[in-house]
Every structure is written in structure tokens, then in C-alpha cells.
């Protein structure tokens, strides 16, 4: 580690911050310092304490002990409004825009004082032009793409002219090209003498962008270093505290089996106010292969998953075939009986009922699959518990037992449980949406390995994911979804990030998709 030995004090210094939530120490004596003009990465697994730390810097949480210095002066940051007044701005990961409001209204809400509408619109246009973030102040946020929404967040933050900018996983929802544009903007901001705190779990990105990094693990700082001198693997090791199991991908069999999932021109109107329509989706997933669907969030992934799982039926027959059987107009249990299994994106509330026990959650997805869990309407809890214990053992689900509520498990362990519940049936076709979203690196590696192993054992696996690293790690073929249209699936070896990025931006769309 190299200490910055400039004569001037760092713009932001955090000294010995400790914050407890009950028995959990979320931040334990955390210190960090960021100079003007520096892009400083904050790294760590989920639950390592990154969010707690930035919330404290942004005034949304108060520390139990420790101090914060701005340009050498100790300060108390009582609230986000106080933070903004001191020149600290934050770009949130998500959930911080008001969808039914216009861009200008959203920005107005984040300003300390009210401002004339015309003057504000003018300022928004100026700032967005200056930093290459084009925006229409009068547009409704609900109508914007995810990338545009992020621009709103950044412009909103910049209008207050902050000295310190905190960005929480800003690229997790962007295409590679959009991320590239964001980096240009960030470098420009840093060159103006602002300090930037950059939270990300994309280590390659951090190595390209940041000159310094602080790594947190279990609430403690484990290292401060220059990420450009590290490798992604060495950074990951510091974050996790152990070597990460490498996913071992056996080459796909030369002769693929029959298509176990066959989609023929699947078209559906939007299913809700902000829903995305699906246009003419065709795809085959054969026995033995993993097919991945990449795409920026909100481009029809959720709708496609719902259509495949049978939560929403196709509009006519002859559209969706599972193991050759036409299930277009059949519900989820009929599709399960045809040999398919499904794992949706949201763990709590979609894949699992949070307040029900794990064994009850086993019954919920397997009560009608002909396994004898329910006989004449009566549930065989003994058998459910047996399956539950087996799933917990086989998938290394920690801190779980059959009688525990699903909500009591950590994200990674619950995801392992959900995957295990479906894999335990040895499905011929497995469709999973965001298999490792918000899961720690260790569990993610295990889950990815399971998906590959399932395919190599002769099943067909379809993975919908926003994580390109994950997709390149496990997929044999890759298709890209954008605005409800799916590109042709191509072998992973023939694609790179740039090509996928172009597809994510809609290069394959027909005129229908363009709104």
C-alpha cells in the first residue's frame, strides 16, 4: 500500500467508523481516505459493509463511533440533505427515482432550494450536454431505459455541484458500451478535482478505472491498495478471504441431443403498465447444452421467464414445446410434469414464500409433480422434510433446517436452496432467471458449476442473466434480448463483449420493436 503524501489533506477521510446493528457489526473500525481527483474503489462481497459505510458518509445512517473529515475538517453529517449541502452526492444503485414523474421533477426533488422551472430545465440541458449525458427534462422516467434513468441519477447528483460523488454499482444495469461512456464521464469529473467513491463487484472494471481501492470483508478493512497492480483473481481472493472455486466447464458434447425446449415465434402483449411485449421469440435448447440469454434489465427477461414457466400462457397453441409436448396453453404444473423446472429471479416472494418454512416451500413447487408429496389433498410433511434435508445437505445450504423460515436464510444460502429444490428433481429442462444475482462469490461458483453439470448429464439448461462474466463462464450458446426481441443464439466462442453490447443496444431488432 502506498500512502498519499500530498501536502493538502485528502478531500474525504473516514476514521475508525464503527456501526452495529444488534449483534452484527456492519462496520468495524473502518478507515479510508480519498483525494481530490481520485476515483476510489470500495470492494467487498454482499454484506461486507459497503452500503453501511456509504450510507454513513451520505448521512443516511449515523455511526456508533469514529469520525468523518472533509478537507481536514471534522464534520457531523446529520442527514442526506446535510450531506448534499456539504457537497457530497450519491448515485444510487436503484429504487431512487419516481417513475410517474418527469426527469425535471425528479431532479427538482433532490435540490436543496426550489428553482424556477424554465431555469432548471435549462440547467439540466447544460449539465447533461457538458458531461455527455443527453436528457430531455420533460420526459417521464417511466418511459426511459435503464441507462437513461441512470443518467437522470447522475445529472441529479451533478446539479448540486458535489465535491465528493458516491456511485453504488453504477454499471450493473448497463451495456458494455454504456459503461464505457460512463467511465469517460467519471474520468472527466475526477479531472475537475472531484473525489469519486466507486462501488462495484466487477473487478476488471475497477482495475481499468480506479487508482486506489479499499477492500472490506465482514465489516473490516482488509486492505487498501492500487487495483491496477493486482489481478482480478487476487482482488477476489482478498474480498472473499479464500480462493474461489473455479468453474470447470467440460466441453459440450459433440452430438447434442434433441431440443428439449422449442420456442416458435412466441409473441405476447405487455402484461402490465410498465411491462415489455415479446416479439416473435424463437429458440431451441438441446439436451446437453447451456444456453444463456443476455440483456440489460427490463428488456423482457421477466416477461419471457413468465411465459416459459407458464405463469402466463401463450395466446395460441404451437408456440412452446417442452420435450416435444405442446405446453403453450398449459400451466406451470403441467410444464413441471413435462420435465421442466423453474427458478425465478426474486428469491423472496416469487421463488419462496418468505415466512413459510423450508419444507413448506419444498411442497409449494413440487406438490403437483407426481412425486407423492400430496395424496388426496393431504400433504405428506414427512416426505417434504426428507426432501428438504436432502436438498440442504447436497447443496451446502448453511444455517438451514427444514423448520426454518425461508426469510431467515441469507441470500446466497437461500438461492442454493432454491436451486437445489429444483435440481433435486433432476429436470430434463431447467430455466433459471438471474441464478446468482446478489449471491456471494463462493455460492455463485457452486451454482454455476451445478448448472453446467446438469447440462452435461443430459438436460437442457436456459439461463437468463445480466452478468456477462457469468454468461461467458457457463454458456455454450448465447442469445441477447432487447426490447422484447431475441437475437439468434450463437456459439459463445464466436461472440465477445463488444458484439453482445451491440445486440444489447438492439442491433438485431426489427422495426416492430422500435417504439
Amino acid at each position: 500500500m502506498k500512502a498519499p503524501d500530498e501536502t493538502s489533506a485528502p478531500l474525504l477521510q473516514v476514521r475508525g467508523i464503527t456501526r452495529r446493528f444488534g449483534a452484527l457489526v456492519a462496520n468495524d473500525d473502518v478507515s479510508l481516505s480519498v483525494k481530490a481527483g481520485e476515483i476510489h474503489a470500495l470492494l467487498g462481497e454482499n454484506g461486507a459493509g459497503k452500503s453501511t459505510l456509504v450510507k454513513i458518509i451520505y448521512g443516511a445512517l449515523q455511526p456508533d463511533s469514529g469520525e468523518i473529515l472533509l478537507a481536514g475538517e471534522p464534520v457531523r453529517i446529520a442527514s442526506p440533505a446535510a450531506a448534499r449541502e456539504m457537497g457530497i452526492g450519491m448515485v444510487f444503485q436503484h429504487f431512487s427515482l419516481f417513475e410517474p414523474f418527469t426527469v425535471a421533477e425528479n431532479i427538482r426533488l433532490a435540490l436543496a432550494a426550489d428553482e424556477d422551472k424554465a431555469a432548471l430545465d435549462q440547467r439540466i440541458r447544460e449539465v447533461s450536454r457538458q458531461y455527455g449525458l443527453p436528457l430531455d427534462p420533460g420526459a417521464l422516467v417511466a418511459d426511459l431505459s435503464v441507462g437513461e434513468r441512470q443518467r437522470v441519477e447522475i445529472v441529479r447528483c451533478l446539479l448540486a455541484d458535489p465535491r465528493i460523488i458516491i456511485l453504488d454499482e453504477p454499471t450493473s444495469v448497463l451495456t458494455p458500451q454504456e459503461a464505457g461512456e460512463l467511465f469517460v464521464t467519471l474520468r472527466k469529473l475526477a479531472d475537475e478535482g472531484r473525489a469519486i467513491i466507486y462501488i462495484s463487484h466487477r473487478l476488471e472494471e475497477v482495475r481499468a478505472l480506479c487508482a486506489s481501492a479499499t477492500i472490506l470483508r465482514h465489516g473490516k478493512v482488509v486492505d487498501s491498495l492500487d487495483p491496477r497492480r493486482e489481478t482480478a483473481a487476487s482482488l477476489a481472493r482478498l474480498m472473499v478471504g479464500a480462493d474461489i472455486h473455479d468453474v470447470h466447464a467440460a466441453p459440450p458434447p459433440d452430438m447434442l441431443g434433441a431440443p428439449l425446449l422449442h420456442l416458435r415465434d412466441l409473441t405476447l402483449p405487455p402484461d402490465g403498465p410498465f411491462g415489455v411485449p415479446l416479439y416473435g421469440i424463437s429458440l431451441n435448447v438441446r439436451a446437453g447444452e447451456v444456453v444463456a440469454i443476455a440483456g440489460v434489465a427490463g428488456n423482457g427477461q421477466r416477461e419471457l421467464f413468465r411465459a416459459l414457466s407458464g405463469e402466463r400462457l401463450a395466446q395460441g397453441n404451437g408456440v412452446i414445446f417442452i420435450r416435444g409436448e405442446d405446453v403453450s396453453r398449459k400451466g406451470i404444473n403441467a410444464r413441471r410434469r413435462a420435465g421442466a423446472a423453474f427458478a425465478p429471479e426474486e428469491r423472496l416472494g416469487h421463488a419462496c414464500v418468505p415466512l413459510m418454512t423450508l419444507s413448506e416451500n419444498i411442497v409449494l413447487s413440487r406438490h403437483a409433480t407426481g412425486e407423492g408429496l400430496v395424496r388426496r389433498g393431504v400433504i405428506d410433511y414427512g416426505k417434504a422434510r426428507e426432501i428438504c434435508d436432502r436438498v440442504i445437505r447436497a447443496n451446502d445450504v448453511r444455517g438451514a433446517d427444514a423448520g426454518k423460515a425461508a426469510a431467515a436464510l441469507s441470500g446466497g444460502n437461500l438461492q442454493k436452496f432454491i436451486m437445489g429444490r429444483e435440481l433435486d428433481r433432476k429436470p430434463a429442462l431447467f430455466i433459471v432467471n438471474q441464478p446468482t444475482w446478489g449471491v456471494d462469490a463462493g455460492a455463485a461458483a457452486l451454482i454455476r458449476q451445478q448448472l453446467i453439470d446438469l447440462a452435461r448429464a443430459g438436460s437442457a439448461v436456459l439461463v437468463i442473466s445480466q452478468d456477462l462474466d457469468e454468461i461467458f463462464e457457463i454458456a455454450d450458446r448465447i442469445a441477447v434480448i432487447s426490447r422484447g426481441e431475441l437475437s439468434a443464439a450463437q456459439p459463445a466462442g464466436e461472440l465477445d463483449r463488444e458484439k453482445i453490447g451491440l445486440l444489447m443496444a438492439g442491433a438485431h431488432e426489427t422495426a416492430r420493436g422500435a417504439a
Binding site: A81, F98, E99, P100, L109, D114
Partner: protein
Amino acid sequence: MTMLQAVLLTIITASTPLLLAAVGELVVERAGVLNLGVEGMMAAGAMAAFAAGHYTGNPWAGVLAGALAGMIMVLPFAFLTQTLATNQVATGLALTLLGLGLSGLLGESFVGQPGVRLPRLHVPGLSDIPFIGPVVFSHDILVYASFALVAAVAWFLFGTRAGLILRAIGVNHAAAHALGYPVIKVRYAAILFGGALAGLAGAYLSLSYTPQWIENMTAGRGWIALALVVFATWRPLRVLGGAYLFGAVWIMGLYVQAAGFGVPSQLLTALPYIVTIVALVIISRNRTLTLTNTPASIGIPFVPDR
């Protein structure tokens, strides 16, 4: 007084309590709180207004007492749903039951007692214009207040920063909190405003509509006000239109019944509900408008980070 004049006058008096209560509830729901206790607050307001008018002989004391009673009734609701984050539907229903029961109990001795009537405005000149004078310029102050409140609420919600903040809290309380806005305080204020207006609506019933106290004299008007807010897609001017449409069809039904046409009375009683719902459903078919006006966090308790 001509027949038409009489019809128009009764439509206005029938619509005013609906409008007052609905505009109050609109602000509450725009802040993201569902208060199903309107009927109870109205009943309490009506009883308190009558009692105050009866003891002091001053109808203005009655108006004040009605609004205060609504605010006092709604305080436990605000405390339970905001500070303790209880379920708003259940708490609101409890408030309705409490308001109806309490007003019946405390108002028992007022049944059959003489009340005071809110004076009708008399503007020299204007009120004497034939036809228009009695219909437009000769009501009590609460009628005009209801219109002024619609305009004020519309201006507040869509023309001021405070209104934007209130709507933002109703749309996404987590994001509003992250920006540093006091979600719970704003909701307390909105709930109290809704309580005051429901109380005023009750006061109008017992001081002007029928200046006396009868148990259950609100007769479901609180529920109609609630429905109006939703079907009017949380827009103040549509609430105004909805309240008057409901009042108009209702009063016409009564006249038709009195005139002895061979229409079943049950159908006529049901007609205002049917017409209002159909009309407002047709208005709210514009999905974008509905979407941009729906307070998305409605009914969801807000619990800030530890």
C-alpha cells in the same frame, strides 16, 4: 322557487359532504396512506359539530368542533399506522367502527334535540338575481369552501414544491427517504388534513344538510367519498366532477321516485353508484394518465432503516 331551482339546490347540498371528505382523503392517499376510516371520522365530526352548536348556539363553533373531532379521531390511526407501522386497511376499518360507535354513544342524548343551522350567505345584489341568485349565491360557507379546497389542493399538489414532495412520498417512500424527506411527518400532516376535512363533511351534514343529530346520519357517504377518490384517479378536479355526478343522479332518482314513474325504487337507489362508477371508469381508461397519478406506495407501511 321553480322545480329546476329546487333540484339544483338539493344536488349541491347532497354533493358537498362527498366533495369535502373526498378531497381530504385524496391528499391522504396521494401521500401513500389508505385511510378507510372516513365514514367514522365523518360521523364523529357530525356529532361533535351538532353538540357544539347545540350548547353554544353558535354554528361556527360547530364547524370548528367538527374539524377538530375529525383530527382527534384520526390521531390514533396516524400513530398506529405511521409510528407503529400497523396494517392500514385493518386500522382504518377499526377507525370507522370506532367513529360510528362513539358518535352513537356520546350523541344519544342529542337525538331529537334542536340544532343550529349554518347561515346562508346573502350577497346584496348577487343573491337577488332571479334563478342564478338562489342557486349560485345563496349557500352556506362550507359549499364555497369545498370548491375553494379543490382548487387549493390542486394548486398545492401540482404547483408547489411541498406538493411535489408529498406526491413523491406517495409514489416511492423509500426513494423519498433516501433523498432526506421526512416521510412519516408528511404522512402525519396529510392524515390530519384528511381527518379535518372528513370532520367538516360531517359538520356540514349536522349543521346544514339536516340540522339535527341522528345516529348513523352519514349513511355510507364516507365510503362513497373513498370510492370517488380511487375512480377519480387521485385528481382533484375529477373528484369534483365525480361528487357532483353522484349527487345529481342521486337527487334526480329521488325526484323521479316522488313523481311516481313506474321505476323500481331499488334501481333508482343503485343508479348513482352505477353511473358514477361507469363514468369514472371510462375517464380512467387512459392508462398513462392513471399510471402517472397512482400513488404506488399506497397502503404500504414505511419502516425506515434501523
